[in-house]
Symmetry: none
Amino acid sequence: MNLKLKTGSDPALRDETRRRLLEAAGAVFAEAGFRHATVREICHRAGANLAAVNYHFGDKESLYAEVLRESQRAAFEKYPPLLAVAADAPPEEKLRAFVRSFLLRLFDDGPITRFGRIMSREMVEPTAALKGLLKERIRPMADDLLGFVAAILDCPVNDKRVRHCCFSIVGQCVFFHHCRAMISRLFPEQPLDAAAMEPLAEHIARFSLAGIKDYARKTSPRR
Amino acid sequence: MNLKLKTGSDPALRDETRRRLLEAAGAVFAEAGFRHATVREICHRAGANLAAVNYHFGDKESLYAEVLRESQRAAFEKYPPLLAVAADAPPEEKLRAFVRSFLLRLFDDGPITRFGRIMSREMVEPTAALKGLLKERIRPMADDLLGFVAAILDCPVNDKRVRHCCFSIVGQCVFFHHCRAMISRLFPEQPLDAAAMEPLAEHIARFSLAGIKDYARKTSPRR
Amino acid sequence: MNLKLKTGSDPALRDETRRRLLEAAGAVFAEAGFRHATVREICHRAGANLAAVNYHFGDKESLYAEVLRESQRAAFEKYPPLLAVAADAPPEEKLRAFVRSFLLRLFDDGPITRFGRIMSREMVEPTAALKGLLKERIRPMADDLLGFVAAILDCPVNDKRVRHCCFSIVGQCVFFHHCRAMISRLFPEQPLDAAAMEPLAEHIARFSLAGIKDYARKTSPRR
Amino acid sequence: MNLKLKTGSDPALRDETRRRLLEAAGAVFAEAGFRHATVREICHRAGANLAAVNYHFGDKESLYAEVLRESQRAAFEKYPPLLAVAADAPPEEKLRAFVRSFLLRLFDDGPITRFGRIMSREMVEPTAALKGLLKERIRPMADDLLGFVAAILDCPVNDKRVRHCCFSIVGQCVFFHHCRAMISRLFPEQPLDAAAMEPLAEHIARFSLAGIKDYARKTSPRR
DNA sequence: AATGAATGAGCCTTCATTCAT
DNA sequence: GATGAATGAAGGCTCATTCAT
């Protein structure tokens, strides 16, 4: 009958090699950036042949796109923008959750951190892969943020103040990851890992709420 | 009979070539970053020989260090951290000036912008040149900032809240430059050049003052 | 209880795959030549596995030899050197038929054309496969040609003039195929496909007969 | 004074290396064709570094274009289409000279032969370089040929018969070079080098004149 | 003082082939 | 009987650097 007659090699092997390549590539791209990362190094770390990248992914750029996609998916799956907050929760609570998720997403240890590292580089030297990421993940996340900031300000989403406040919030979050090289040199006593994010998230949320409410109080007296 | 006249070369010419190289290098490093910048491109733009970099600066890295030093000097000369503010001005005013200078320093057009661009890359991929920059420029600037933020908070400089507030302020400023690739894609209507900095500076200063004062009000009732 | 039934494979399937490979290989070799043709492309077009060529034919070179053999067989089957001419026809008529067959064999559309294309390349860059082709097909065809040219000249087959005239005849035929890249650029109005061969064949036959007869008239006054 | 003050390396050295590269490239391209020729082999034969081609010519394709240009220039300089024939010579004499030049140009020994070899390959697998060659050399030569063939036929240049006769002439010439692999196998007694061209040229001219005159006699009774 | 020529190392990619299944 | 996975060799090209002049 030969019901289980398998032809060819073991597909599990393929997946295994692919996975190892993807993981190695994630590490190398995060460390060196797209351009300076070398296929050699990636294959070496994955214990694969130099031609393996071409075989499994076509070329370096497609491999990178896959790494970015994977890392983004994993990062947002583990830390959704509004992690553990009900859809009808008050906007202040959403803001708190947003900031906490954002920071953890950037600093979570393990292969996930890559997302932060890769994004940092993507900001400084955007690749073609950025476009898709923006459309799929960043835009929706930005809309969430704009939404509850507008709710706190009690004004239309497209009000300039909403945008400015969002810039301030995201700016404070991104800073810790993007400038970690300098922060850790200037303030060696300031830890910069996932564990250290809770108090920072607390600070950013409080600081930002005060900033937003300052606008709400003085310029939209409707309330 | 000038003893130094024995060669036919004009020392002024040497300086001129050096200067042109430095300027070209500034542009190329800002555009492409240290690693991806090529000596060829720099020499080409400077109208100099391919070996000129090695001749005048030793190697690519030393040239980069020189460029960073130059660009930092120019940027801080044009926009000192407390531009146009008296030493005994109230700390709130200093904060305003600091933010404004910071943003203009990052976004000023011309060869100066380079500083912002080069710093962005330096954050993501620090080079050996960062150390000197940190000691000479960043540290003093940070001390200024910490000083008047502590003054507003009315608490010791080494209080954790002071540091956190400083992070928030600088984070908001740096954000616009570092994430400009994404901001301009998400909000095409948001201009991101020197001219657009004034309202942003105004926002950041106000937002931050509200954040800081929130701490001052609730946690240090001494006043 | 067929002893050969122990494997589940269908021998007809094997032949089918072989045939598809052969056909795809013919196309690819004709388009790209032996060296530049890739096993990948051949297998892809045949809808077969990348390793199929090695499995069915051993290696790329053996596959090529098979293609050449096939294509030659088909081409000469469809266009024998003396197509539609009786064995005892006058040599002038044989010459006409020879030229016409030759041109059609080179330019016939469909998988047959391959023969012309492959032969063109084989001339410029002979492979090991040329030897067999020469012995099996070219030599007999040349002998035919030498025979009736000698008959027209009314002199021994090994007379130098016979050889020269044969060179002239074949040269005129081959030219249209071999130099088609240049002809079509120099004379865009000159069609170069099977349909256009009839008038060209007519010309070559007439032109050549005049040339041959010039020798016959002036140098062999035996007639 | 320093009137002879040379800066930099010896320009003669550059030319020397360039020349060696060009010569080696000519040989390799002639032997292997553009695609299969390797920069490595060329540099090796020229005793130059692997990067020398890039330094002196930019890339493989530009080197090839240069080789083609050089070889064409040399070949046509040594064997102009109407070598040693007065402008007002009778067209029959021009035809004779044309054929002789054509054959010698293809078969001349030394680095010149390359022209024939390279052209053979260019016919089978045209490269971008063909276009320029066609415009600069082939077209004018074709116009020459068309001109005096029309004169012999005593009919307009654009008459179809003129074109056909030119095809026949060039076809006979090209044949010896293009099909030399097969000719030398079929007729080992037939020498195929520059020395052997004279009788062949004589044959082709006579054969062709007879062919042309056959048209002139029977179809344009004006004479 | 300055440079044109040259180089060695390294990068990404492609290819025919092999091998375990 | 047939194939998916993997590989070693090689190819074109780029780059920072060196060296003789």
